[in-house]
C-alpha cells in the first residue's frame, strides 16, 4: 500500500469510517500523521449511532478527541445526529467554533427534528464557507451579520428563519445554488444573490423575497 500515491491513500481513508481511519495513525511512522491531517472530517449517521447507543457522553468525548488530534485546516466537516435526541447542544457550538476557526469551506449540520439547533454566532462570522447545508436549524443572524462572501451553495431543510430586525437578510454575492426544503419563516427571508443559477423551493409556507442585482 505504500506504493499508492498520497491522494489515493487520502481517498481511501476518507471512505473508511472515522474509527477505522484513526487507527491507521498507529500503523507505522509513515502513517503517523496521515489521518490527523486529512482535511475532511465526516462524522456521519453511522458514526453517531454507533456511539450514541452506548451513551451521549461517549459520543461527545469521541468528537472532542477527534478535533483535538486534528492538525491543519478542516476543509469539510459533516456532523449528522439525526434519529436520536441530544440533551444539550453546547458541545456542538464548541465544535462549530473550532471548525469555523480552522478554515472550513464545506459545512454540513444535520439534526433530528427533536433537537432544533440554534446556529451559534461563529457560523455567521465564517467567511471561508463555500458550501453550507443545514437540517433542523434555527437561522437567526446577529445584527452584525454581513453575509457569506464566498458561499456558492446553500441547502436548507426544515430550517426556521428568525428576523434580526424586520428581515433576515443574507448577502451571498457568489451564490449559485439555493435550495429551501420545508423551511419556516421564509416571509422574513431576503436573499441577495446576483449570481444565482439554480433555485429549488419545496413546501415553504410563505412568500420568498429574492433580490438579484
Amino acid at each position: 500500500i505504500s506504493g499508492l500515491a498520497g491522494n489515493v491513500i487520502d481517498h481511501i481513508l476518507e471512505l473508511l469510517p472515522v474509527q477505522d481511519a484513526a487507527r491507521t495513525s498507529i500503523l507505522s511512522r509513515n502513517w503517523r500523521y496521515i489521518w490527523s491531517t486529512l482535511p475532511n472530517l465526516v462524522l456521519d449517521y453511522d458514526f453517531y449511532h454507533k456511539l450514541i447507543e452506548e451513551s451521549e457522553s461517549k459520543f461527545k468525548l469521541a468528537v472532542d478527541e477527534i478535533l483535538l488530534l486534528h492538525m491543519g485546516n478542516i476543509v469539510k466537516f459533516i456532523l449528522d445526529t439525526r434519529g436520536a435526541h441530544l440533551s444539550s447542544c453546547a458541545d456542538i457550538d464548541r465544535w462549530v467554533l473550532f471548525v469555523t476557526r480552522n478554515g472550513v469551506k464545506k459545512l454540513t449540520l444535520r439534526f433530528s427534528n427533536l433537537d432544533t439547533y440554534s446556529l451559534p454566532p461563529s457560523i455567521f462570522k465564517c467567511s471561508t464557507l463555500t458550501h453550507l447545508e443545514l437540517t433542523n436549524c434555527v437561522f437567526k443572524p446577529p445584527s452584525s451579520f454581513l453575509g457569506f462572501p464566498n458561499l456558492i451553495s446553500l441547502v436548507l431543510q426544515r430550517t426556521t428563519f428568525v428576523p434580526t430586525t424586520s428581515f433576515c437578510v443574507i448577502k451571498v454575492p457568489l451564490l449559485e445554488d439555493l435550495s429551501l426544503n420545508m423551511c419556516h419563516g421564509t416571509q422574513y427571508l431576503n436573499i441577495i444573490s446576483p449570481s444565482l443559477k439554480s433555485l429549488n423551493v419545496r413546501d415553504s409556507h410563505y412568500c420568498l423575497v429574492l433580490n438579484c442585482f
Partner: protein, 163 residues
C-alpha cells in the same frame, strides 16, 4: 505503430509494461482523462504504458468495455461485474488502483478505493499491518503512548483475521 481506421472507428494501441500490445477502439480509452488528453492533443495511435503490468491492463480494458456497454437496463449486471472485478488478491487490487489513478479513470478509482477501504474496515491494527505488510517501526514505548492517544471509543471489537 501506424494509425489505422476501420470505418468511423479509430483504433489505438496500448503497450503494457512487458511490451504486450492491446489494440482497442479509441472511444474506449476516452474514459481515461490521461489517455484522452494524449489522444486529443498529440493525435498518437500508440501509447506506451511501461509502468502498468499487462495483467493489470487486461483487467482495466475489460472494465472499460463493460462500462461502455452500460445502459439503464443492464445496471444490475454491471454492479455484479464491478463486485467480481475487485474480488482479487490484494496485491492485484492495489496494482489496479495505482494504474487507475495514473490513468485518471475517476469512477473506477472511487470504486477501487472503496474496495481497498472495505478490506481494512473493522480490522485491528495488527491485522491491517499484516494485510498491507507494514512493519511497525515504533519502539514499544512509542506504540503504547500512541495507542493511548487514540480515542477509546475506537477500540472495541476488532477483527484480527487477514482475509
Amino acid at each position: 505503430m501506424a494509425s489505422s481506421t476501420t470505418g468511423e472507428k479509430k483504433i489505438l494501441t496500448l503497450k503494457g509494461g512487458d511490451n504486450e500490445e492491446f489494440i482497442l477502439e479509441e472511444s474506449l480509452v476516452l474514459q481515461s482523462e490521461l489517455l484522452k488528453n494524449m489522444v486529443k492533443e498529440e493525435r498518437v495511435s500508440s501509447i506506451p504504458l511501461p509502468s502498468i503490468k499487462s495483467k493489470t491492463l487486461v483487467k482495466i480494458i475489460e472494465y472499460l468495455k463493460k462500462h461502455a456497454e452500460l445502459t439503464p437496463s443492464n445496471k444490475e449486471e454491471f454492479k455484479n461485474f464491478e463486485k467480481e472485478f475487485v474480488n482479487v488478491v490484494l496485491e492485484e487490487l492495489l496494482d489496479i488502483t495505482v494504474a487507475v489513478n495514473y490513468l485518471k479513470i475517476n469512477g473506477l478509482l472511487e470504486f477501487c478505493c472503496q474496495a481497498v477501504a472495505d478490506r481494512i474496515k473493522d480490522k485491528s491494527v495488527e491485522a491491517v499491518r499484516k494485510i498491507f505488510r507494514i512493519e511497525s517501526d515504533f519502539t514499544p514505548e512509542e506504540e503504547s503512548e500512541f495507542r493511548k492517544e487514540t480515542p477509546e471509543a475506537f477500540e472495541g471489537d476488532l477483527d484480527d483475521t487477514t482475509n
